[in-house]
Point group: C2
Chain length 116, copies 2
């Protein structure tokens, strides 16, 4: 990689496009970012997430959580009790992603205001 400096500029080296795609392939689906934002507040249980992430099906919550776990963005902790209790939380890596996403959130918010 030849240019790692001023990423503040609007003009970026081309190969970076692929990099973005890597990220988008991870969190660019319908629910991942939504779930990450929820876990950003505090650890959550399965059913709790299902209520908070509006409209998500039980299947997709499972699929999404599995994917995020496999990518090392969230941690899954099982408590060996009955009834089962499973808590999901962001890993340090997941938190860095959430931080990284913040400017994008901000951009989206600004855009929403303009388009009202």
């Amino acid at each position: 990689m030849e240019a790692e400096g001023s990423l503040q500029q609007a003009v970026l080296p081309a190969p970076i496009g692929c990099r973005v795609r890597e990220v988008l392939d991870r969190v660019g689906d319908k629910w991942s970012v939504y779930v990450i934002c929820q876990l950003g507040e505090s650890p959550r249980r399965f059913t709790q997430l299902r209520k908070e992430v509006d409209g998500i099906s039980q299947r997709m919550l499972t699929v999404t959580l599995r994917g995020l776990e496999r990518d090392g963005l969230i941690h899954r902790q099982v408590f060996p009790v009955v009834p089962p209790r499973v808590e999901y939380s962001l890993t340090p890596l997941g938190r860095t992603l959430l931080c990284t996403l913040a400017p994008v959130l901000d951009w989206a918010a600004t855009l929403s205001v303009r388009m009202s």
Copy 2:
């Protein structure tokens, strides 16, 4: 909206998740970000983009460009000549998005290194 302050924190208010989805719905498809990165370098013609954005079909390039244009992220300029000449470029809004995306690029790059 109740919290518009410190977006630098890892903990973000929940409703923001929807905001991210708005953005992801716009540029979270397979090719948009890729095209935006290319146009970030300089204006491009259709065929030129098709060569640079590796693997994109002619149909998807058309669809992607139309979408970005409708969302006000890129500008389409037609030169009334034969053979036709059409140039695409980022709008100011598109450039702000590209800037916003920079940290995400950086994050992805770091991640790639770790996972090698």
